[in-house]
């Protein structure tokens, strides 16, 4: 993590990964969903009206007009498109510009092309989700074929289990159909400590705010889920309120974690959200190394916000670009995308250096250092 072992990821490799992502995460899922849509559409005249759309302990307990049988695959198409296009195009979003865009392949500032494990995972998830929704739509419609009244619909519990197993299988298959793209670790530039006078006190205060790319992705996603919750509430689904509550909670969390106050002082590093929580504190004597590292939110952390990366780093990742990186003696490395990361790193490095000097000197002499 400290140094980049000059690993070369060729453009061709990434092109191949993106092509396979398109097949696994877009074309195949869409084909499955379209197949289900066409099948159910052909069956529509033979389905009871209203049709059963929800099953509980005592059999079918939720009903809707006939066309709602098309609901799950339609929802699937929307989700698959949203996630698939998002994964393929995050690097085109405003503000994501850590590097140039070469033939649809995002590269970092050194021209090294990037592809992410996150994208690979999203592709596999798309396939699984499409499989599950298609399967369920066909089963739910299939068991009601020719019924006069949807209340006679048999239990589909065993089918649900089978569908879930198929979905998990598809996720696994989708994962292994896509190539593993080795990505060189970003080089951390060690921070040069700010020169300090003997008794000088120094502090750095900054704010990390969400970049436009993150806002562009999170905003519509939140709106979409909110609209879904409202739609559920309007159709009187019993879970609508729980759903709505979750959405409100998630929105609040997203809102408070879009701005973080960052403070570097003799107490070490402190990062806290507008609301005061979540927060991180790293005392100086727990710091092993301080540096600056370029961050690509989607590729390195799978998105924006308070994150844990696939490599175990924990971070406040709100925009692409330079971030403060603090390696701790124990526990996760902390990454914070904050304006002026280089200066923050230099100040923190000076604090760490002074702490070590005082730590080694203070044990021998009583004067100096202990304020």
């Amino acid at each position: 993590m400290t140094t980049s072992n000059a690993m070369t990821t060729s453009l061709a490799e990434i092109h191949r990964a993106r092509t396979l992502f398109r097949w696994v995460g877009l074309y195949l899922p869409l084909a499955l969903l379209l197949g289900a849509l066409v099948t159910v559409a052909i069956w529509l005249p033979r389905l009871p009206d209203p049709v059963a759309m929800h099953w509980g302990r005592a059999g079918a307990d939720g009903f809707g007009p006939r066309w709602t049988a098309l609901g799950p695959p339609l929802l699937g198409v929307a989700v698959v498109l949203l996630i698939g296009l998002l994964a393929l195009s995050t690097h085109r979003l405003p503000g994501a510009g850590t590097g140039q865009n070469r033939g649809g392949v995002v590269t970092d500032r050194d021209g090294v092309p990037r592809w992410s494990v996150t994208a690979r995972f999203l592709g596999a998830m798309n396939l699984g989700l499409a499989g599950l929704l298609s399967f369920l739509a066909i089963v739910a419609a299939g068991v009601q074929l020719g019924l006069a009244d949807a209340r006679q619909a048999p239990d589909i519990g065993p089918w649900m289990l089978l569908g879930s197993a198929v979905a998990v299988g598809l996720v696994v298959v989708g994962w292994f159909l896509q190539p593993r793209v080795e990505q060189a670790a970003d080089a951390v530039s060690p921070a040069e400590p700010v020169p300090l006078e003997e008794d000088e006190r120094i502090a750095w205060i900054g704010t990390a705010t969400i970049g436009r790319a993150g806002a562009w992705v999170l905003g519509p996603l939140l709106l979409a889920t909110f609209a879904l919750a409202v739609a559920l509430a309007a159709t009187g689904g019993p879970m609508a309120w729980v759903f709505l509550l979750v959405i409100v909670l998630v929105s609040v969390v997203a809102a408070v974690s879009s701005v973080f106050h960052v403070r570097v002082s003799s107490a070490g590093l402190s990062v806290r959200s507008l609301a005061g929580w979540p927060r991180i504190r790293v005392p100086v004597d727990e710091i092993d190394a301080v540096g600056v590292v370029p961050v690509a939110p989607m590729a390195d952390f799978g998105g924006w916000g308070w994150r844990i990366g696939l490599d175990g780093r924990m971070g406040v990742v709100l925009r692409a670009g330079d971030a403060l990186e603090v390696r701790r003696r124990r526990g996760r490395t902390i990454v914070v995308t904050v304006e002026g990361a280089a200066q923050a790193a230099s100040v923190l490095a000076a604090m760490v250096e002074r702490g070590r000097r005082e730590g080694s000197g203070g044990s021998r002499t009583t004067e100096g250092g202990s304020e």
């Binding site: 008794d199 000088e200 006190r201 502090a203 750095w204 205060i205 900054g206 403070r263 002082s265 002026g340």
Partner: protein, 116 residues
């Protein structure tokens, strides 16, 4: 924002805080419209009294560098623009010196010797 205080220096601490803000504006790190951290936060960070920080902020306001508004905090004012433009001039000077074969360190030494 970078705040540096040397308690051993002859200059009062509030003036050193004000100078830190001024340096940040001149370096282009703080721009007109930017909000300064609350006095409480600065005081805690460099371990001084809140009133010392408030006094620094008042001095900056008297110099027309920031606006102090109740409830909105301290905001770098539009009249700080000339100081902010200094960063461009500094960059130009450094580049000019580099073209003439003078290192930034040598240039800084010359700047230190030069009295207005």
């Amino acid at each position: 924002m970078l705040i540096r205080i040397d308690p051993g220096a002859a200059r009062p601490i509030y003036e050193q805080i004000a100078a830190s803000v001024r340096t940040d504006v001149a370096a282009g790190r703080l721009r007109p419209g930017d909000r300064l951290p609350p006095a409480r936060e600065v005081a805690a960070a460099v371990d001084v009294n809140v009133h010392t920080v408030l006094r620094a902020y008042q001095q900056l306001r008297d110099d027309g560098l920031i606006d102090l508004r109740r409830g909105r905090g301290a905001i770098v004012s539009a009249s700080a623009a000339p100081l902010a433009e200094l960063s461009h001039e500094i960059r130009a000077l450094v580049e000019h010196a580099a073209r003439l074969g003078l290192s930034p360190a040598a240039l800084a030494a010359l700047v230190k010797e030069t009295t207005p």
